[in-house]
């Protein structure tokens, strides 16, 4: 089905999931206006917001099944399999995070249901960011996402760490946005275009200019800040540790996923002509991010900090897929992000159940003997750690294999080797978690008695863990979808440009 986004109806159709989610967020906001006192209110709002995600997901599915496409060149927002896949991924992450938050917020004494509205709005921003084919849309999406997440990071108002996290994230984020905006301006100056495809055609047709090069570089820096790539990563551990745990899960999976999806599209559609320029940059970022992220993670005591550095390391792996600049690479971005997000949401979900209101952050040593008291939580966490490690039998392994194949497919062997070395380092901090949970005895008789695993969160985590295992053995549907349906980036816009 082809639509013309120029007409009002076409525009609504093109933005259907975003429109539905925004509308639902506004309705929920109205509801919050008079239901914001009790724990019941908070739960109600959370459940209603889940319906919004379901509706938006259904709309995405409908668009994908109808094969909605734009007449001519897509303007502002992409209409292709990659965007639908991105939307589905981001909506699933957001729904998962919402489920994790359902009782957690009340237990932590955070009674402000606007939280769920912010998650919905952040998701709208992510979807716009990941689906943008226009630099203005891209920036709009980025800001909607970022501003919502700044607030979410500081949502636990009574805790200093949370406020600190919000402020740090805001300052660094604003800085990054500045870079990005400056980059966009320079690109516009060099090409006179905002549309990625047109920029791509223009840049490919002309000699590289300093202005365009500077624009590409600044945009890359902006994104590197957003995905916490070394050396732009210093904010991440503090922010991840300070933010409320479900929000950390949201940042580690959703924000990172959206930024990577957008970067994948940007590099494939707008800057293919400058591949010689950005490939070495990505190479350096990948190597530094993989090695430093994983090395520093070795030294962490706190689970959240450890997972933060692990998230940095995984961002490094993802650069491999972008570096490849091939269909296999684009598919690998999707598959890897799915595997990583599912695992991250499950791991943080289990971590959230262990936390207590007002207590200090959970250390790895606090998990000692978890298996004896809460076998399923320990088992779930073990599977998550193995999946993050990329151990065979888990989806993490399949996605890592798929990811490594991308640069190998274009003849690059050093990046996969370094990635495997980094992965070898990472066993040094994933294994101690497993060791502490399963092999060490509990410290005290009372240990782990305070764990409260609300039913919705339990359900979501169990689903994620089962998905990790099932997709670890039978990943074909996902791989087929990613490599067939979702990778049609890099269209050539030359016929349109020559008018």
């Amino acid at each position: 089905m082809t639509i013309d986004p120029g007409t009002p109806l076409g525009a609504v159709l093109a933005l259907l999931p975003e429109v539905i989610l925004t509308g639902w967020a506004l309705v929920v906001l109205l509801l919050v206006a008079w239901r914001h006192k009790s724990a019941g209110d908070s739960r109600l709002v959370g459940n209603i917001s889940l319906i919004g995600f379901a509706l938006a997901l259904a709309a995405t599915g409908w668009m994908a099944s109808q094969g909605v496409a734009a007449e001519g060149l897509p303007q502002m927002i992409a209409l292709d399999g990659f965007r639908f896949a991105s939307d589905a991924l981001l909506l699933t992450i957001a729904a998962g995070v919402t489920i994790l938050s359902l009782r957690w917020l009340e237990r932590q004494g955070i009674l402000a249901p606007e939280y769920y509205v912010l998650i919905m709005l952040a998701t709208v921003g992510m979807m716009l960011l990941a689906g943008a084919v226009d630099l203005i849309t891209l920036f709009l999406g980025l800001e909607v996402m970022s501003i919502s997440v700044y607030v979410l990071a500081g949502y636990d108002r009574t805790r200093r760490a949370s406020a600190e996290a919000a402020l740090k994230y805001f300052l660094i984020g604003a800085f990054a946005s500045g870079f990005l905006l400056y980059g966009i301006a320079l690109i516009y100056g060099a090409t006179g275009q905002f549309n990625m495809t047109l920029i791509g055609a223009q840049l490919a047709a002309t000699e590289p200019t300093l202005m365009a090069r500077a624009g590409v570089a600044l945009m890359l820096i902006g994104f590197a800040f957003k995905v916490a790539a070394v050396p732009f990563h210093a904010w991440a551990p503090d922010v991840y540790e300070g933010a409320p745990t479900p929000v950390t899960a949201f940042m580690a999976s959703g924000v990172k996923a959206a930024a990577f999806l957008a970067l994948a599209r940007l590099l494939a559609e707008a800057f293919p002509g400058y591949v010689e320029l950005w490939r070495p940059v990505l190479f350096g970022l990948a190597v530094a991010t993989m090695l430093i992220g994983n090395l520093v993670a070795l030294a962490q005591q706190s689970m959240k900090r450890m997972l933060a550095y692990s998230a940095i390391g995984h961002a490094g792996y993802l650069f491999l897929a972008l570096w490849a600049h091939s269909d296999a690479g684009t598919a690998a971005v999707l598959v890897y992000l799915l595997a990583y997000s599912v695992t991250t949401v499950a791991a943080f979900g289990i971590l959230a159940s262990i936390e207590r209101a007002g207590a200090r952050t959970v250390l790895i040593s606090d998990l000692e003997g978890l298996y004896a008291v809460r076998p399923f939580a320990a088992l779930g966490m073990t599977i998550c750690m193995l999946s993050l490690l990329g151990f065979p039998g888990t989806f993490g392994f399949i996605s890592k294999w798929y990811l490594l194949s991308a640069p190998l497919g274009v003849g690059e062997v050093w990046l996969p080797i370094i990635a495997m070395v980094a992965s070898g380092i990472s066993i040094g901090y994933y294994l101690p978690v497993i060791l502490a949970m399963t092999l060490k005895p509990t410290r005290t008789r009372q240990a782990h008695q305070t764990i409260r695993f609300p039913r919705p969160a339990k359900f979501a985590v169990a689903l994620c863990v089962i998905a990790i295992l099932v997709l670890g053995i039978w990943p074909r549907p996902v791989l087929d979808f990613a490599s067939h349906e979702a990778v049609r980036l890099r269209q050539v816009a030359t016929p349109i440009l020559t008018r």
Partner: protein, 519 residues
């Protein structure tokens, strides 16, 4: 027998059943009440053994090719399939695994008294992983099984091991995991190179092997990546340091499985993958000499270190390093005799070291110590155990007439043509191994009975006899009449040697010299 097996379509289902049965029984072990756990494990193990023994007859010894091959698409878009099969090399390993399985379960019958469900579940998972490694003919599948094994082994050591178990388990996993990481890159790269050359991107072993000349330009790097994984697993000196810890701290079942199967996976990997894929590099003078030298250094060094171990289990662990050195030497000897000898050492090391670990486990269950100094004169109170230990020790030393001799002898004469000096050095290890094992036997079972705590040790029970008797019978049988085993491995060994021969620098065939000679 063959007619019967053919009539039930044995060759079509046996490998899948062997792989699937332990996994299918795993939920039963976990869900049923704990008292059933070991019975289920034993039933599964016995079934696997009975079914698996059919391979002995169904396997066509004259056919060097892969047999019972199955190829089911799994991720066919990427050339990955469920591909399994056996040849003369792997069939012996599979037989060894299935025969050991009930013994391992039975050997742990009394020793494991906590968390039995978990233990037997892990034992079953371990079994699937081991068989999978030997049966897989798809590099992707092979890598999955290869890595998956670590998890059951990690928990087996970590939960049921002795005092220093956490350190040992962690060391084991980190060594082997890190060692095999680069193998994954190497596998993917191989598929890409061969795919570029032939147009077919496939992880199938036979496809890669048939087109291995395309890999020749990158042979050195790829071989190093593979060899690292296998060398850690074997373990070849100097990658062996995880082994004494893991062996010593593991419960009896873990030690036996490690010794009998896991170590053989490394040498099997060399024979099956690392050398056939990259023969030009693997068999070049420099690499061959390096590997053979490392093997011989390992043989002698480990034997010397074993001599001074105060801990009985550690002593046997070092003896493993020493024995596995013979396998590596035999593999690089690259004659039919030496390769067959290497396979033979793999089998007989499994039998005799397995038996040694069983006996040490029985001692440990009684006295909760592995210190040699705590024992002495046990032959008086446990004569049967002493007899079993002495026979096993002789077999491990390589006394003619027992199994250990056959393999080591074949390795030594087979490799002499290529590495005469090294073989002479390796021969001295036979003396050292006699020294450490006989000395240990003397201090544990003979000498004066000094420690009154040993009074109540008691002799072997019926169950323990049932565990050891088949092993001792196998030692004597293989020692006196190794023909049936050698016959089954010969065709594959010959094919392997013919395949690699053209890459070998011409060796001086000593026997030919003597007979043909110069006029």
């Amino acid at each position: 027998m063959q007619a019967f097996l053919a009539s039930i379509g044995y060759e079509h289902w046996i490998l899948h059943v062997l792989l699937a049965l332990p996994m299918a029984a795993l939920p039963l072990v976990l869900l049923l009440p704990v008292r059933f756990a070991r019975w289920i494990a034993l039933t599964v193990a016995l079934t696997e053994m009975i079914l698996g023994l059919g391979l002995w007859w169904a396997f066509d010894a004259s056919n060097p090719a892969l047999q019972f091959v199955t190829d089911v698409p799994w991720l066919e878009q990427f050339g990955i399939g469920y591909r399994v099969g056996v040849d003369g090399l792997s069939v012996m390993m599979v037989l060894l695994s299935v025969v050991m399985m009930p013994l391992v379960v039975w050997g742990s019958w009394k020793g494991i008294d906590t968390k039995q469900r978990g233990f037997y579940a892990l034992l079953l998972a371990l079994k699937t992983g081991m068989l999978g490694v030997f049966l897989a003919l798809d590099m992707f599948l092979f890598y999955m099984f290869w890595e998956l094994l670590l998890i059951p082994m990690y928990f087996t050591i970590g939960i049921w091991g002795s005092s220093n178990r956490l350190y040992a388990a962690t060391k084991f996993v980190i060594y082997t995991f890190v060692g095999s990481l680069l193998m994954l890159v190497a596998i993917l790269w191989m598929v890409k190179i061969v795919g570029d050359a032939t147009g077919t991107y496939s992880f199938a072993y036979t496809h890669l092997l048939a087109n291995s000349q395309a890999l020749a330009p990158y042979g050195s790097w790829l071989f190093v990546a593979f060899a690292l994984a296998f060398a850690v697993k074997v373990p070849i000196f100097p990658f062996h340091t995880w082994l004494p810890d893991a062996h010593t701290e593991a419960p009896t079942a873990g030690s036996v499985d490690l010794a009998v199967i896991l170590l053989k996976m490394g040498t099997y990997g060399f024979l099956r993958f690392a050398i056939p894929f990259f023969p030009a590099f693997a068999l070049s003078d420099a690499v061959g000499l390096t590997m053979a030298t490392l093997a011989v250094v390992g043989i002698i060094y480990a034997a010397l270190v074993a001599m001074v171990q105060p801990d009985l289990k550690r002593l046997v662990a070092y003896s493993s390093v020493s024995h596995l050195g013979f396998v590596i030497l035999g593999i690089w000897g690259s004659t039919v005799e030496s390769v067959q000898g290497a396979i033979m050492v793999m089998i007989s090391h499994g039998i005799s070291t397995g038996a040694l670990f069983f006996i040490i486990g029985m001692l440990y269950e009684r006295r909760h110590t592995r210190k040699i100094a705590d024992y002495g004169g046990l032959a008086r109170v446990a004569p049967l155990m002493a007899t079993a230990f002495v026979i096993t020790a002789f077999s491990s030393i390589g006394l003619p007439g027992l199994n250990g001799f056959v393999g080591e002898f074949l390795v030594l004469i087979g490799s002499f043509g290529r590495y005469p000096i090294l073989v002479v050095c390796a021969t001295t290890a036979v003396v050292f191994s006699a020294a450490y094992l006989l000395w240990a036997t003397q201090r544990v079972f003979f000498n004066r009975f000094t420690n009154p705590k040993n009074e109540g040790i008691g002799d072997l029970s019926g169950r323990e006899i049932a565990v050891l008797a088949p092993l001792i019978a196998a030692m004597i049988w293989i020692g006196l009449y190794p023909g049936p085993i050698l016959r089954r491995t010969e065709a594959s060994a010959r094919q392997y040697v013919e395949m690699v021969e053209s890459y070998l620098p011409p060796a001086e065939p000593i026997i030919a010299n003597r007979t043909g000679g110069q006029p």
